[in-house]
């Protein structure tokens, strides 16, 4: 295995594009090194992107924030601006692993690891975040929804790197939240995850919503019907029930040791409801 830590994005893309065998990007390494050490992957080249200055930064942009692909969860959590604008995205990212894992793990890595149970991804999908991808053919922006195509699979082409995640601006009276179910209190993989983002008008009526679920399908889901039943309401009991039903209806989970199909389907509704309540409270300020 060859290890490279280039200082420019161009050099990183060239290394990956020219690699003769299997190549991997190293950001936080909290998934990559586990896979490496277990023998699950045997890359010929690992490109560490943490020496590329622009990938280490959080920058304000068009009223939102651009999060570099090498920004750790701990660094994200310490950024007051992102916390204030997208608290649900920050709380979702901070749920990944332990303090030690937070010192290294990144949102972009969580996205590219392409686990259906990735905690930060439903929150990013609810936030309508965009991934900026740089590769041999230049720069492209794509919805974070389109990066993972299935468990462990991404739409990234040869030599392409996710270089940043863009969290957009949002109107006043907006809020988001992420909740997951695990059988412990911390340090576990989501059995179900649910993220909700809403914007309210001056009367507190929902005018925009996005609902996303994790760990209940091969990919993180965007539940359009869940958003539809929230818009135009003040989150009364009927809206909450309709949201839970829509969330459960969207699920196509697997049975495994962490949860059955029936359990995941039911809990998805419960968590969507609770996340919506928190998102509304945050939107009201």
């Amino acid at each position: 295995m060859q290890y490279e830590a280039p200082q420019t994005l161009d050099a990183a893309v060239a290394l990956l594009a020219d690699a003769r065998g299997a190549a991997r990007v190293l950001a936080g390494g909290t998934d990559l090194l586990v896979q490496l050490r277990s023998g699950a992957i045997e890359p010929d080249l690992v490109v560490d992107i943490k020496r590329i200055d622009e990938l280490k930064k959080i920058t304000a942009e068009d009223g939102g924030y651009r999060i570099g692909a090498a920004v750790s969860g701990a660094e994200l959590g310490e950024h007051e601006g992102v916390r204030a604008l997208w608290p649900g995205v920050v709380e979702a990212t901070e749920l990944i692993g332990s303090t030690q894992v937070q010192g290294r793990a990144t949102m972009a890595g969580n996205l590219c690891n392409a686990s259906p149970a990735a905690d930060s991804v439903p929150a990013m999908v609810a936030a309508d975040a965009t991934a900026r991808i740089v590769g041999p053919d230049g720069v492209r922006d794509t919805s974070v929804r389109d990066v993972a195509t299935g468990p462990g699979q991404t739409s990234l082409g040869r030599g392409e790197i996710v270089v940043s995640i863009f969290l957009p601006a949002r109107p006043a009276r907006s809020g988001d939240a992420y909740l997951r179910f695990i059988p412990r209190t911390e340090m576990d993989i989501a059995v179900v995850g649910a993220a909700v983002s809403v914007s309210l008008d001056d009367e507190g009526t929902c005018v925009a919503a996005r609902v996303s679920l994790g760990a209940v399908a091969a990919r993180v889901l965007l539940v359009d019907e869940g958003a539809r039943v929230l818009i135009g309401t003040k989150l009364d009991d009927d809206a909450l029930q309709a949201l839970a039903a829509a969330a459960s209806a969207a699920c196509s989970p697997i049975n495994d040791k962490r949860g059955t199909i029936e359990f995941r389907t039911d809990v998805a509704g419960v968590l969507a409801r609770r996340a919506a309540q928190t998102a509304f409270e945050r939107a009201k300020g």
């Binding site: 090194l33 030690q100 894992v101 209190t185 340090m187």
Partner: protein, 158 residues
């Protein structure tokens, strides 16, 4: 496989070593530099026994490549005591008998030190969540948590 030459700062001192590209920082510390205080419990980032700080940030050294340490500042358990003088966390772990087999203890001390540098007055809940990535299979955690709270109190008074 050609080895990589790394220059880094380890517990305040400049250090150079050669390592394999796929060798972890934990293996470098233990097998090349003779610093065996950091332990390998799981090798997958779950247990925290290999906790060190890299540029002040708490990490599992089993999930860091040795090559990544170039130009960084690494702090390990070996840098916690000042000569013969134990750090208050070390002393309180002894006073509270907060260890049995001791494999997890260096990781707990490094992790707790990183906490107290950020938050000198943590609540018990904050201590427990911060240390959730450090596993102990002997003590049941209570004595460790009490030792950390006690050390924090002493350090605030100092």
């Amino acid at each position: 496989m050609s080895q990589i030459h790394v220059s880094t700062t380890l517990n305040g001192d400049p250090v150079e070593y050669l390592c394999e590209p796929d060798e972890t920082l934990l293996d470098v510390l233990r097998d090349r530099l003779g610093l065996t205080g950091s332990k390998e419990g799981c090798g997958s980032g779950d247990c925290g026994a290999c906790s060190v700080t890299v540029d002040g940030r708490l990490v599992c050294s089993c999930l860091v490549l040795g090559a990544e340490a170039q130009d960084r500042e690494i702090e390990t358990i070996e840098g916690v005591a000042q000569g013969e003088n134990l750090h208050p966390l070390q002393q309180k772990i002894l006073d509270h008998a907060a260890l049995q087999c001791g494999v997890c203890t260096p990781g707990f001390i490094v992790a707790a030190k990183a906490l107290l540098e950020r938050n000198p007055d943590p609540s018990e809940t904050e201590v427990r969540y911060w240390l959730a990535g450090n596993l102990c299979r002997c003590t049941g955690y209570d004595k460790i948590v009490r030792a950390v709270m006690d050390a924090a109190q002493e350090m605030r008074g100092a």
